[in-house]
């Protein structure tokens, strides 16, 4: 039917043709990612990519996930050949950060690195080698495989959660897990979607459509944000909230729900701790150890209205015939015979909510009292999902915002069913990649042995405490450091080595409710043993060698290059960046190793419940130049390290725990005597292991994935974040977390085994945060009139795409910050002009985007630009002091203990204060 003819027409027809296609995706931290693409190759070059569009319908009546992709995905192939690409090992030939390079061979590069590592080990121990926990690449190659040598010899590895801070401390404090992650299609089941502290039109481009489609299906969409952001435009209501006052809004909605008798009481009794009795004299829970000598500290009490007696609370959510009181005042006789008054936590909550009448809250949060009432009634009567972003965790009192939101859901029975809940993120299910380094030998027999061992351990622990769950046991193992990720809470690293101590002790920038200095809290926390073990030990070793693999810490770090270049860099003898592009961190490194890009190696992105698939990305073309996959880099480093160690007779070292580590067979150990030395071999092994572990169908192999591209997970496996989903993984239903709690009455992994709103930790009582409360954000950066909010950009995954020339063409070609039109006019700043943004710390120059969509007093600076895209490389992180909330040093309390990726102090970058003027 080619009716038109001519050279011009044939040229276009020819332009579209290709020789072959492979499966591809972007194994990066664009979360939830997993968009299956076809990569089109012609004459040995990747010419383009396009979504496969072959997702199947999961649940009848729910839209499919097709086509899934974004503008970055649509132009990834262009970055493969971009000018920011690194193609050869480079050694710094000038000062750090000067951008003067000497091209060297792999052998020279690895020799330099290995020698620097061995020097550091000899001088200060292996903990003086630091691997920055980084998510930027987020793929199996950079996350799991690149750690081969470093993890094995016991280097310090900073906790990725604090590096990036995508933590939800308030969710964690409430649920003992921070990571409910409904599958994206579950949004379609909601009757009310609250887009809160989130901008999915930017941050979830492939899946935003479920918001629009849920609305077309009858849901109402409400956006709660300071600015009229791009996600707000398709909602039914936009609720402009004052920056940092979200907790006041949520608590006021709770107050309305309580006042108007809309509380779902049976849900509250069953799922939460609000029926647990609290002593009036000391504000602590009434514990078994209060009532009997030698009693347990983790048995709590209820007042049963049937029997009219105080009874022990069950350790699961199954209340049986109990009818716990939510209100009232009762008397309990302590072990020493003294009688004390006790009242359910709910009674305390009522008192707390007295401060949040809609009229009072309106003053705090700027939302009209009637709007608060209407919203509260909507939540109380509808299946509600809070589409929370990762903004709250980055706010100083974000934990309080999140706890208040969770309370709103608790009072209205809004979790543990489709279309309800609150959103965070989770990775997991692809268990083969976690088990690899524990295997004594390659092959699936070894995997079966390990699985059997794990199962026996779980069974034994369940026999010991039949009220526990697999999740609780795995979490306990993780607290005990028994799981393979051996991470150090970064806060201690920054405190000791990166100069943050001064800022964190700056009383003006911290929380006014702090009764002591930050130092005093640190000392007490360490003294009490709350951060025992590797956390404090490793943090004290002097950093000498630093690896940043696929990440860009000089872009990401709160507090900015300023802090790191000033305080950390001079201590480092060797900085190694492994990347396929030249980042700001690369520019400040001593050696840059060229990694293969996403279409040049077999790989997988993070696997997430949001999409629920294992998505394969293949080697469409050979790595360009001299670049290599991370697995090949790891193996080459292993060989070189052994060679150089032998040369100086250093074949055995001790790690931080005093265990012996041998350096003479590193390559053999890591590659399983060469059996898995090939990229395809190791990837196939991980796939087969995952199949043995039951998370993907038994017949899944590298070959089957090369054919089909992706496969849906069939089970959760044993990773903590997957088990935290706490719902059956069904082949034909959307996933909604916490159904094991509502349907099977399984306990939450918290101290009280219930969703915990009352936290009687001594520090929480000291802070007045035993219950959710609204607190104003401290004046971080000084007393200035503007507050910076920021967030995930539309146009880049972290900083990866921000220098892509095609992507730059879709924006202004340079960074901009968004300022309200009235504010700009008052300062004589016109759209497109430069403005100077400054505070007590630094001054940054950026182009102004002037818009009425931004709230007066707000400055929106989306993340992701490279510092080297700003004048003098001064980006916005430099005006952030990078505070952490002191209360997050609390530990030694049920679930408030450190385990990798979970409870720990995380850095703050929201609501930093600045002033703005027109730049000359």
């Amino acid at each position: 039917m080619a009716s038109i003819q001519g050279n011009w027409a044939d040229a276009y027809r020819d332009k579209w043709k290709w020789d072959k296609t492979t499966w591809g995706t972007h194994c990066v931290d664009c979360y939830p990612s997993n968009c299956p693409y076809h990569v089109y190759v012609r004459d040995g070059r990747v010419i383009r990519e396009e979504p496969a569009g072959d997702f199947q319908t999961i649940e009848p009546g729910v839209p499919d996930m097709n086509p899934a992709g974004c503008q970055k995905g649509a132009s990834w192939s262009q970055m493969l050949y971009g000018k920011e690409r690194v193609l050869h090992p480079l050694r710094r030939a000038g000062e750090r950060g000067e951008g003067r390079w000497e091209r060297i061979s792999w052998d020279e590069a690895l020799t330099d690195i290995a020698d620097a590592m061995l020097d550091a080990i000899e001088e200060s121990g292996v903990e003086s080698i630091v691997r920055i926990g980084t998510p930027a690449e987020g793929g199996t190659q950079s996350m799991a495989l690149s750690g081969g040598v470093l993890d094995r010899i016991g280097v310090t590895s900073t906790d990725v959660q604090s590096e990036i801070n995508d933590f939800n401390p308030g969710l964690y404090a409430t649920f003992g897990r921070f990571d409910p992650a409904a599958s994206n299609d579950d949004w379609f089941h909601s009757d009310l979607l609250l887009i809160w502290a989130n901008n999915p039109a930017y941050s979830a481009i492939p899946f935003y459509h479920y918001v629009a489609e849920a609305r077309y299906n009858g849901a109402e969409v409400v956006t709660i944000a300071p600015d009229y952001n791009p996600s707000a435009i398709h909602g039914d209501y936009f609720v402009p909230v004052r920056i940092g006052s979200d907790a006041a809004l949520a608590l006021s909605m709770c107050r309305v729900i309580v006042d108007e008798g809309l509380v779902n009481e049976s849900f509250v009794r069953e799922q939460t701790d609000l029926a647990l009795l609290v002593r009036t004299d000391n504000a602590r829970f009434l514990r078994q150890c209060d009532l009997e000598e030698g009693g347990s500290e983790s048995i709590f009490h209820l007042f049963d209205q049937h029997s009219g007696r105080i009874v022990e609370a069950p350790r699961t959510l199954d209340l049986g015939a109990l009818a716990p009181a939510l209100d009232g005042s009762f008397r309990a006789t302590l072990a020493d015979g003294v009688e004390v008054e006790v009242a359910p936590a709910f009674t305390h909550l009522r008192h707390r909510l007295e401060d949040y009448s809609p009229e009072d809250a309106s003053v705090m949060c700027g939302v009209h009292p009637e709007n608060i009432r209407e919203l509260a009634r909507k939540v109380a009567s509808r299946r509600t999902h809070i589409l929370l972003g990762w903004t709250t965790g980055k706010a100083y009192h974000g934990d309080l915002m999140e706890r208040s939101m969770c309370l709103l859901l608790a009072l209205t029975g809004n979790w543990g069913k489709q279309g309800a809940g609150i959103r965070s993120w989770a990775v997991g299910m692809f268990d083969g990649q976690f088990i690899l380094r524990d295997k004594p030998r390659s092959g699936q027999e070894a995997t079966r042995e390990i699985v059997a061992g794990q199962q026996a351990m779980i069974d034994a622990m369940l026999a010991e405490d039949p009220t526990a769950t697999k999740e609780i046991i795995i979490a306990e193992m993780s607290y005990a450091g028994a799981l393979p990720i051996n991470a150090v809470p970064s806060a201690f690293f920054w405190y000791h080595h990166c100069g943050y101590r001064e800022a964190w002790n700056n009383a003006g920038w911290g929380d006014p409710s702090m009764k002591r200095t930050f130092d005093e809290y640190v000392d007490e926390a360490v003294e009490k043993g709350w951060w025992q073990g590797s956390a404090t030990q490793a943090a004290q070793a002097p950093p000498r060698v630093l690896f940043e693999i696929g990440g860009n810490l000089l872009r990401r770090q709160r507090g900015g290059q300023r802090m790191l270049l000033e305080h950390l860099w001079p201590k480092l003898r060797m900085i190694v960046s492994v990347d396929w592009r030249m980042s700001t961190t690369g520019l400040h490194s001593d050696i840059v190793l060229p990694a293969a890009q996403h279409y040049e190696k077999p790989n997988f992105p993070y696997t997430t419940p949001d999409v629920m698939n294992l998505t394969f990305s293949d080697r469409a073309v050979e790595p360009q130049g001299e670049s290599r996959s991370e697995w090949q880099i790891t193996l080459a480093l292993a060989k070189k390290l052994t060679e150089r160690a032998k040369a100086r007779d250093l074949v055995e070292i001790r790690n931080g725990n005093g265990e012996r580590v041998r350096l003479d067979r590193l390559y053999e150990e890591i590659s399983f005597d060469g059996a898995l030395a090939d990229d395809d071999a190791v990837i196939d092994e991980i796939i087969r292991d995952s199949a043995v572990m039951g998370t993907i169908p038994a017949d899944t192999t590298l070959e089957s994935l090369r054919e089909k591209g992706w496969v849906r997970f069939i089970d959760w496996g044993l990773s903590p974040m997957a088990l935290a989903q706490a719902s059956d993984l069904s082949p034909n239903e959307t996933h909604s977390p916490f159904r094991w709690q509502t349907e099977k009455k399984e306990p939450f992994p918290t101290l009280t085994r219930r969703a915990q709103f009352y936290i009687d930790h001594e520090w929480f009582l000291e802070a007045g945060e035993e219950l959710p409360v609204h607190k104003e954000a401290p004046a971080q950066g000084g007393d200035h009139p503007f507050q910076i909010t920021s967030g995930h950009p539309r146009w880049s995954v972290n900083s990866m795409n921000s220098t892509s020339s095609i992507i730059l063409g879709t924006i202004r070609g340079e960074p901009v910050a968004h300022i309200n039109d009235g504010d700009a006019a008052a300062r004589g700043i016109e759209n497109g002009q430069s403005m100077r943004v400054f505070n007590d710390l630094a001054s940054v120059v950026v182009q102004a985007r002037v818009t009425p969509a931004v709230q007066p007093g707000q400055l929106v600076m989306y993340n992701g630009f490279e510092p080297y895209q700003f004048k003098g490389w001064q980006d916005f992180s430099n005006v952030e002091p990078g505070m952490v909330k002191w209360l997050h040093l609390a530990g030694g309390y049920g679930h408030l203990r450190y385990r990798a990726l979970h409870w720990q102090p995380v850095p703050i970058d929201r609501a930093v204060r600045v002033d703005i003027e027109r730049a000359s």
Partner: protein, 345 residues
């Protein structure tokens, strides 16, 4: 002067502005696919998405004229200048990354327009906080039924393809007179100075010939884009445009009878002076929408609200079910073939 022929069938695009999130995936997909990075094409974006209200791309294109007057007479307007089109930037990568000058230099544009780009006024909009308003408007060649460009071309190089109504340019015949560009009221025609020809969206005709949807439609992650024949009753496009009449052309007053249609944007309730919701108020001024989509827009918005109300009361709505797009392939009409299946020989 070229002559407009009638096509047997007409392909049409529909963009649902209540789903479009301005992600530019459509624009990027098009730019990567077709030769829009070759010398002479730096500024070309056959597909663009702009924030409205806004000056758009080319800057202030709506004031540049073209199309037909009330008497059906061709009107020649302005040819946009490179500065008005904007973009076309290259950057000093080498200097920054390998130049040895450290932080003395930062990455910046070394060529192209100084004051504009294809998406310069992204997310700005109009109104006053908290009642600011904006939405996204994806635009490509409208493959008009009365294409002014065809009539204006002195070389008769532009034609409507018989079998599907695509407006295509015989680039071998085009001599770069740019009369098409001055006649096009949508200013979706670019000039390739390296080749001395004009170029515009080719409707992905090589894909369509293989029963594959255009890249801009097939890659749209917002599931906001639909394509199909207007006379194919089973296609979502025909249902939205012809049956339920909820999709309207942009600037119908241009007289060119465009074949790209838009489901007009709803918007959140505005806030009253005291901050309470004004449920019956309009955030986007209806007059503004009328200036874009004609007077028919009011009825469409009313019917969309009525359908939403039905859904909220638990009743069925065929219109909304079509827009929900339970099966994504239903957006693609007869063009639902997976391109990766094709084996070229």
């Amino acid at each position: 002067m070229g002559t407009i022929t009638e096509s047997k069938r007409q392909l049409a695009w529909v963009f649902d502005l209540n789903k479009c999130i301005g992600c530019q995936t459509c624009s990027v997909a098009c730019k990567v696919l077709w030769p829009q990075q070759d010398p002479g094409t730096e500024q070309m974006w056959w597909m663009t998405v702009n924030t409205k209200p806004g000056r758009g791309t080319p800057r202030d294109w709506e004031a540049m004229g073209g199309g037909y007057d009330a008497h059906g007479k061709l009107v020649l307007g302005k040819v946009p200048t490179p500065e008005e089109i904007g973009g076309g930037w290259d950057f000093n990568y080498d200097e920054v990354l390998r130049g040895g000058r450290g932080s003395d230099v930062h990455l910046h544009k070394t060529s192209g327009a100084k004051s504009w780009g294809m998406n310069w006024d992204e997310d700005e909009g109009a109104g006053e906080f908290p009642n600011a308003y904006y939405f996204y408007l994806p635009r490509l060649c409208n493959h008009c039924t009365r294409p002014a460009c065809v009539e204006a071309c002195p070389k008769d190089a532009i034609f409507k393809r018989e079998e599907d109504g695509l407006v295509l340019r015989d680039e071998d015949r085009c001599e770069g007179a740019q009369r098409c560009s001055s006649a096009c009221p949508y200013k979706k025609i670019y000039f390739n100075s390296a080749r001395g020809v004009s170029q515009h969206c080719i409707g992905c005709f090589p894909r369509i010939e293989q029963r594959v949807a255009p890249a801009c439609v097939r890659q749209c992650p917002g599931r906001a884009a639909f394509i199909g024949f207007l006379d194919d009753e089973d296609s979502a496009v025909a249902k939205l445009v012809k049956k339920w009449k909820v999709a309207l052309p942009l600037h119908p007053e241009s007289g060119t009878e465009p074949n790209v249609y838009y489901v007009p944007p709803l918007s959140p309730a505005p806030l009253r002076e005291d901050g309470s919701f004004d449920e019956s108020g309009d955030r986007i001024p209806p007059s503004y929408l009328e200036s874009l989509f004609g007077p028919g827009v009011h009825a469409v918005l009313k019917s969309l609200r009525a359908e939403l109300d039905k859904k909220r009361r638990g009743l069925d709505s065929e219109v909304l079910d079509t827009l929900i797009l339970y099966r994504w392939k239903d957006a693609l009409g007869h063009l639902d073939r997976d391109p990766a299946e094709i084996v070229w020989n």
